[in-house]
């Protein structure tokens, strides 16, 4: 019987070329619970192209259903605002100095974005279990995909608001440069909601049943179909901060419809509060994230 080489790889006779591995690719995984850290942010940045790819996919899927897909982004706030303006404007006796339809449309622009981001975001991890169980990437990209891809819809809806307000004879104003501020408030708040709901949804089925109810409640509890001025003056500011949707929507209305600057104190306080919320949500997400692949 002939003898063979002891190994298919004949390593002894071959110079072993160890590929250069840079120090920064060393990864430590420590047991126990996950937590939010600087590394989370670094890694998210490292995986930014994955986030981009996921957002692009989401948009492609949505707008691939071509005409109708894009059409709904325009129609959804218009129809909702129309219905609320009709019912509340005629029978609700809501007082408003501006055209009521425009006020409601301004609210709807922000609301449709937040509620869609929350609904899609909450299901994002559950819906992508296949991906979660097969490949590593920072899991927060899943709920954040809903938040970022919704931004495109938000900008289109904002365009609709501007076009409609032109029809009401409103002129562009310098204050428009402040628009990113309320948008940021809404993005941060939607991000906080999507992160925490998507993580909880993996563990508790309850989330799925509670969320639609919360969204309905949110529509009533936020100044969407009514102006912020409906809230008694002494509670107004606190209310707008604790419900950043109110601050965001009110700022959008002031900027676009009234052509004035948003209330700085309220807006920045709401911004700060939303920041706190998203950090808390990210902490919750990172704490629960490690169990995602073990469930489902």
């Amino acid at each position: 019987m002939t003898t063979h080489e002891p190994s298919i790889l004949a390593r002894d006779s071959l110079p072993v070329v160890t590929p250069p591995v840079s120090a920064k690719t060393v990864r430590d995984i420590v047991g126990g619970r996950g937590h939010l850290s600087l590394e989370t942010v670094q890694e998210f940045w490292q995986f930014r192209e994955v986030q981009l790819a996921l957002v692009m996919r989401q948009l492609k899927v949505r707008y691939k259903q071509a005409f109708v897909g894009a059409g709904w982004v325009v129609l959804q706030p218009l129809i909702a605002a129309g219905i609320f303006a009709l019912i509340l404007g005629r029978y609700g006796h809501v007082k408003s100095s501006e055209p009521f339809f425009l006020v409601v449309l301004g609210g709807m622009v922000g609301w449709v974005y937040v509620s869609n981001a929350l609904t899609v975001g909450a299901e994002s991890v559950v819906a992508n279990q296949d991906l979660v169980r097969k490949i590593y990437f920072p899991r927060e990209t899943l709920p954040l995909t809903a938040v970022f891809s919704g931004l495109v819809d938000l900008l289109i809806a904002l365009g609709v608001l501007i076009v409609v307000s032109f029809a009401y004879g409103i002129k562009p104003a310098l204050s428009w440069i402040a628009l990113p501020l309320p948008l940021l408030v809404l993005v941060l708040f939607a991000g906080a909601g999507a992160l925490s709901l998507s993580a909880l949804n993996i563990y508790y089925r309850d989330v799925r049943y509670i969320l639609p109810f919360m969204i309905q409640l949110g529509l009533l509890a936020s100044p969407i179909a009514y102006p912020l001025s409906v809230i008694p003056a002494r509670w107004r500011e606190l209310y707008a901060i604790l419900n950043p949707i109110a601050a965001g929507v009110d700022a959008i209305r002031r900027i676009v419809i009234e052509g004035t600057w948003p209330a700085p104190g309220t807006t920045f306080a709401a911004l700060g509060y939303s920041l706190v919320l998203i950090v808390l949500a990210a902490m919750l997400f990172k704490r629960l994230e490690r169990g995602f692949a073990d469930r489902a």
Binding site: E5, I8, V21, D28, G31, I135, Y136
Partner: protein, 416 residues
């Protein structure tokens, strides 16, 4: 030597409610009772400690449920350890199950881009490798279809092709490639070997012992979530296969005495050359099978047959009185039937002993043809071929002597 993968005291427990959703109620109760629900869960891995040096081909061996896949999932960060620490150096390419790393909604082309980005590979590198990946995966015409429309074979090929071509520093490969057709499996092993030759680290899980032995220089044997052996692959495989055999022998229920109407088989003993009772023999040794019988009434010219089988259907060899004609005139009362197999040319492993007795001329069952017991042929594997241990211990059972004669590059005219 720098380690590509380090596991330090790693344990993995799954929570009590392992599948599906848990009830908020239960978690609340556990929280109030200050009880960690993970602590009373299922242990998948316990106290795992090892280091894999860069460039090593490393095998994971063990039964189903021993924790091999969980270990790979930990190394690829799909799941996380409950306690302990894992350190990974470099990019990890993983093929853990069919479709690993593939996004079902994206097309094949998009997946190649996405996977590269997840591994952190520059775009130009992906572009450079693109054709190789597509060619290896053989998905050409389906490239622009969503992966969910791929057959499992196509998903597998694309997944492996991605994991193997995008320059991973560490390649994790599970059983998965066994799903592919023979040609693809061959190319996978070839590709894996090439990567290891380049100095990349491989962690390989397979139930195909020959593949593990041929590719991996070192292996770990996992049993019930613990490492029970860590060493040169052939030693680990030998221990694993012996363990499997030991359990076979321990659960051998075929030794119960058998009663037939006219004949009672009281015991089956094995004797070595010196007549001592044994449980097995050395490879190449002789084996005497002693059947102790009790015939309730005289049995005229019975035909006794004894066979040796290796678990596959039908005996490998057989001693039959129908063949050799050594038929006794009569069996009556207490009897002993000895049958000696000389110089059994069997590879070392566990075999089955079968036996049966029929009436005169081989007609009519006196003692139904049945498995009598198991026995072991002991022996060291002296050969040094690539997969000598696993082949000898699991493949063709008969040992014959043979020689090879190979000529290549022959002149076609002189060959005829």
């Amino acid at each position: 030597m720098t380690a590509a993968i380090e596991f330090h005291g790693v344990s993995k427990r799954f929570r009590g409610a392992r599948s599906g959703y848990s009830m908020a109620r239960d978690d609340l109760v556990a929280f109030l009772a200050r009880r960690n629900r993970e602590a009373d869960g299922v242990h998948a891995l316990e106290d795992i400690d090892f280091e894999i040096p860069q460039g090593q081909a490393f095998g994971l061996v063990g039964d189903n449920g021993a924790g091999k896949t969980t270990l790979l999932k930990l190394a690829s960060r799909i799941t996380y350890p409950s306690t302990g620490r894992i350190r990974i150096r470099g990019r990890v390419g993983a093929l853990i199950e069919v479709g690993t790393g593939l996004h079902p909604e994206l097309t094949g082309r998009e997946n190649i881009g996405l996977y590269g980005r997840i591994l952190g590979i520059p775009r130009r590198e992906i572009v450079r490798r693109f054709d190789d990946i597509v060619e290896f995966a053989e998905i050409g015409p389906a490239l622009d279809r969503p992966v969910k429309q791929f057959s499992s074979g196509m998903q597998l090929r694309l997944g492996f092709s991605l994991a193997a071509h995008l320059e991973p520093d560490v390649l994790l490969v599970d059983e998965a490639i066994a799903v592919g057709d023979a040609g693809f499996q061959y190319r996978c092993v070839e590709r894996i070997a090439a990567l290891v030759k380049e100095g990349r680290t491989l962690v390989f899980v397979s139930h195909n012992m020959s593949a593990i032995e041929a590719v991996c220089e070192r292996s770990v044997l996992l049993s019930h979530g613990r490492i029970v052996r860590d060493g040169p692959t052939r030693d680990v495989i030998r221990e694993y296969l012996h363990g499997v055999e030991d359990r076979l022998l321990a659960t051998d229920h075929s030794q119960a005495p058998s009663f037939d109407e006219e004949l009672e088989l009281r015991s089956v003993a094995l004797l070595d050359e010196r007549g001592r009772e044994v449980d097995g023999i050395e490879a190449g040794g002789s084996l005497t099978v002693r059947m102790s019988l009790h015939a309730t009434r005289p049995l005229k010219r019975p035909i006794v047959e004894i066979g040796i089988a290796d678990g596959r259907i039908g005996p490998l060899t057989m001693a039959s009185m129908l063949v050799d004609g050594a038929v006794p005139d009569e069996l009556v009362g207490n009897c002993v039937v000895d049958c000696t197999f000389e110089d059994l040319p069997l590879m070392p492993r566990v075999y089955e002993l079968w036996g049966g007795i029929t009436g005169e001329a081989g007609v009519g069952n006196v003692l139904r043809w049945q498995r009598l017991r198991l026995f072991r042929v002991e022996g060291e594997v002296a050969e040094t071929g690539l997969a000598a241990v696993s082949q000898t211990l699991t493949k063709a059972p008969l040992k014959t002597s043979y020689t090879w004669h190979v000529e290549s590059g022959l002149d076609p005219r002189s060959a005829s």
